[in-house]
Symmetry: D3
Subunit: 298 residues, 6 copies
């Protein structure tokens, strides 16, 4: 940081006033994943942002991912890591490791980090008080001919309902819920669920003001090669067209679908942010222009 | 302000984290007077600082002075303005003007300013729900021979009790109480009271974390002519000595006595701040070193 | 008072039972102005009535006027007092005096009187927590040919909204709100507002059981010269006809319009009372017949 | 009642202000028995007084007696009515009738009367939620030689504890508890208890402001034949002396002992009132001098 | 009871889990009358069942009958006991005895029994806080020719409204309300009301999960002589047909009408149980099959 | 289970009444470990017992162990499993696996099982809201000569404080907290802690009524070979003597020390139960004699 005088620092705090006021008491769900979880500096940035949000009166909720850790433990255990079109093939043995790593390692580590930095977090998995109730679901896999095929990848699920009572009571008491994306079905079986989709469902269930997806891209580009073509605001009704034009493709497709679904279910706005940028969350909330791409229900 | 990048702004917000956390839910009483009331820029600085304090979870209470306005209205009304040793001679007619100006003009103006800037203030005078109950008191006036003389300056009073119920209920509902230093005695008669002393009594009654007196000096100097001799921390037990050494004299005497009494009655610390410095309140709260002179109960 | 035995006194208290029961917990807004503010005996009568109302479980709210005091201070300050058709011409200098006198003198005096007589009052102006939010409005002035003309009288406003949260929280805690008819616009500028209209808006916002306007007449007469023609109950739907018949004219026109608007917005009944009659408020509430003219929504 | 003008009636209400204020929220226990239960006019007087007390914010609790009704039902059932020294001999059959009459007839009748007159009463016996838990006790009977003898009169008990939770919750919800003096022991057996003593224990358990015993005498006289010798205020410490002087004798002895015990256990004051005087309760509360004899803890 | 091992006992408790869970927080109204009130063993069974219901989190409310006790006291008082078609002829003298016995004897006895067995009951009659407000009603008496005739049986009433506030507040505090079927009309006069109908109205007013009528039959039989023809579940829409077929006749007619009305007004189900079977309430609630006849709104 | 009639089942439920009543609202902490975690039947027994406890109004808290699972995952990951005197040597790599298995596998599995069986559990580790704050501690290892030696086994800790706020708020909302025995130190580092000791500290912090340690022995024997010498009740003051006599030795030493410490810190009683007996928890609570050994503070 450049050298900034105390007076200027005070002015910057005062500049934040209208944003603090506007988001006071508002719920913000953050999907925390990708590179932002790998660098210590970025991790520190994200989690301090979350603590600040809570201290100035917002109600942040974290949903985390955790792919790399799962693979490394599986490898250590000599288990075969298998993906089909980016989705993990999950039998019972794999599911046990997924749950163990996400809930017992990644989640715990985030909780401890927040608590070390002035916040107070409580880790949750979808099993806690049936927080994330899901059912098994076959995956939608693209075929070479451009069509789609339903495929059984094992213990993979889709969230049906979210226990908002537990979340709201923790938020009311000043705790930051940190959610591991492991759901449970009606028979008590654990299911692997996509963290983006969990974040979307949680945000919808809480009728959150904002959902923020931390990704490894700057946002959505009209033309991926032209860095000046970033789409700042994306009305949901324009998404279908952009898909047809080939602007939204590949891994962005499910992410954008998740955004659209969330705003249609009542989330104020969804933000695709670049988790590789330090303090990207605060930048979105506390600056006039915002950063990344904002999806709104229009 | 110099040109500061968005990232640096975010870092500055994050730097404030430990201070926000530390003062969350804490009551801070501010005596607002002197030059800080006269310049529009300083006024804006002080009142935005107060709004920020409230938004990040503190419970600020303002007590204001208002001398110059009283004199100007009195002059417009062709009334004689009379002071003995810095204290206003206050007969019934004068008291009526004092009350009218402090409560109906100065107080209203502060309330409106805060409400315009994102806060929510409620103006109070000592008469409201007997907020400041006082009794008449003769003034202590120094004699030429260095002694003291009790003198009746009219409707001048000393606060006996503070109705904390009213203050706490307004604070609990998120309002900033702005207090006009007009007290009322048991017979319903208004009394002129010193704003510093009111602030001290209010802070003690609320068991405030901090009392901040905005003055027109940088703080207390060990040697007034040596700007490097500012006393940063002044333990109450050392005050008597400094008086004897002639370090604390003149107008500073009652101010320092007020500070000592407040910390002895349970206020965490009292700060003599330079109201002529922009954002002096935030600087005190959000920087490691603090500014001005802090009196503590040691 | 004639000599009344203790037993008879007890019987009178018991006679009040059904009225106390009926109005328990009900909000009653009182516009206090005119002669009832000028005589010490009448003032004592009104304010003790208000304290009694509160003690037996009603929720009284006072809105006061204050014309004579404003004029006298303006004259003392050598300012020109100017009215057009009964409405004060209000430039910035005048507004400052209006606010100072209403909020800093008249309001304070009522608050102190109530607190001296067993009640607990809190004075408010429209600026407090934006209690009375208004916009500037040109006045409707009759022309010699019987028409109307819009005229700019300066900082004169019309109330848009009332912050009932502040009023209800004070009432819930057992305080009597005393409201000075100075409103504030969205830019923080003070506006002079008619006290009758303020009382009407406050009563409507609180969905009051009763609004009582203390005036200097016995009520509305069908024939002003025939003292037996007092209209006890006036259904709102009959007002238009009475205007056309010339029964309601002059200064009574805006007052009756205010009454009609209040009952149409949900106030139970509006009472035009003779503030020159001692205890006129209690007489209206605690006697079978009531006094003055009652406007109802029929 | 003499002819009293409306204005005078209003003045009388206003005169009651300081008393209403003083007793607001205070608990007053009334032992209702004797002649005040027999005349319709007196009954109406007492119960309307109680309703008024509640409406102006006091918390009245009624404990009733009921001797004559018991005797008349017993006679109708051809049962032998037997007293030893004023205390009923109570076997199981008698107890059943006592309970049936007190709880099913006298209590119900009072409850209905209060509910008809604007109050809201709930009848209770000592069995409800073990309101009055007692143990069997032999009676203390005077012998001809001036001594005392313990005598088993059957199912006669002494109250050990009072379930104040039930009473306070009913009072908090605005109900007037009406208590039938039938207690219950640890084995679920009903016991006949003296209504004065029940009222004393209830008042002590509730830490009542006042206990009022409605009797058939004007109060306590220093010399019973001299109507000017009524004792207005009787400090508890003087009772022993008055017993020795023969001023307190016979049926007054247990009543005065009950008063002394109540004030010693924290009841503010106990009043021996003449239940034959219309509105004796209001006269005591709302007049400066009070009536009857007041026992205080001095 | 046969000899059952501790382990088996524990298993039985665990078996009750799903039923405890299902009825947690649910209101169940029980009409307690007939033989179940006469045998000590059955009484103990019923009331212990009720206490258990409360302890495991249900909200039981009891409405009792009491015919035999009334007759026996009336006979002891040499009063004429007169019935027309099973309904008591009730003049003022009879009503006084009915109230005295039901409220002062039967109700008290149940309250004491519950309190002795680990529960906490509060006895209520319809007069308490106007719990059961009724109006006088002529009885519907069958004529020899199969028609009906309206007949004035005196102080007999029909319930109009139930004060659920009082019941809910007692239930919320963990008390079991025990209701004596004596209602009160708008003039404060007591009226005799049918206990089945009171239970039905109370259950409807509380929107109870279940209403249980304890009778002296096993339930409703399709063919009374064929013990295998018990109707387990009776949809309300089939009642009319069964009446026409002569399956429901005589004393069962009003009982079944009461059941139908209750389920139509929102009670979950109504159960006609055999009060002569020990623990019939628990058997209904805690066994898969249930016992007796259940009327449902289908 | 033998064939038991419905009536007998109802009687058994009723027999439980006094125990349900006695423990209503009481907190019971259960250390769940050993064989009771290995057999499916026993697991079902323990967890259904816990659900029943909650449904009948108790506040159960579970602390679990989990040794075998840790070893098996470590072995699968080719890590060396090392114990010194029964305590695990825990370096950073081991700690990561311990946390992952206990929190992400064992804890989750218990939570899911409870939720499947009618309860509502929330899994917690010591990191959540700093539930278990600990510091690193060297282990006390016996030396061959009968002395003791302090030994550094790595990341092994001792609990300093328990965040009862989080536990109480979950209990108040009807959740069963399931605690994984992983603590966290002031620097955010995870520490391995003994589950018995965690259960003891949690029970003390909650001032629990009972602490139950599920073990693989019937209880404490005076003479281990004589099965009739089971000690039912063990006053804490006698423990020292029994140690000296060699009655308490080996693995029982730390367990009994933990019991003694818990009762000395305010836990009502501590029970050493045989987790191999089906429904051992219910047997302890719902039978007169209790099972196992109960340590009390006498």
């Amino acid at each position: 940081m450049q050298d900034i005088s105390a007076i200027d620092k005070a002015s910057i705090l005062v500049e934040a006033l209208p944003y603090i006021k506007r988001f006071h008491g508002k719920t913000v769900v953050i999907k925390y994943g990708g590179n932002a979880m790998l660098s210590e500096e970025l991790k520190e940035g994200v989690l301090k942002d979350v603590v600040l949000m809570q201290l100035v009166g917002m109600r942040p909720v974290l949903v985390h991912g955790g792919g790399p850790d799962i693979n490394s433990v599986m490898e250590q255990m000599r288990m075969k890591v298998e993906f089909v079109n980016g989705q993990r093939v999950t039998d019972e043995n794999v599911m046990e490791v997924v749950e163990m790593v996400l809930t017992g390692k990644v989640n715990s580590s985030i909780v401890k980090y927040i608590n070390q930095n002035g916040g107070s977090a409580v880790g949750l998995s979808g099993a806690d008080a049936n927080l994330l109730l899901a059912h098994k679901q076959r995956a939608r896999i693209p075929t070479p001919d451009g069509g789609q095929q339903m495929m059984d990848l094992g213990l993979v699920g889709e969230v049906e309902s979210v226990n908002v009572d537990l979340l709201n009571s923790l938020l009311d008491q000043g705790y930051i819920p940190v959610i591991s994306p492991v759901a449970v079905d009606r028979y008590g079986e654990s299911l692997n669920v996509n963290a983006d989709l969990v974040a979307g469902r949680v945000a919808a269930a809480l009728q959150a003001e904002k959902l923020m997806l931390l990704t490894d891209v700057e946002g959505l580009y009209r033309n991926y090669n032209d860095k000046t073509s970033l789409i700042s605001v994306l009305p949901a009704r324009m998404v279908e067209g952009l898909k047809n034009q080939g602007v939204i493709t590949g891994g962005m497709l499910p992410k954008v679908d998740c955004c659209v679904q969330a705003v249609k279910q009542g989330v104020g706005s969804v933000h695709i942010l670049d988790g590789r940028v330090l303090h990207c969350i605060l930048l979105e909330i506390f600056t006039k222009e915002g950063v990344g791409t904002m999806v709104i229900n229009k």
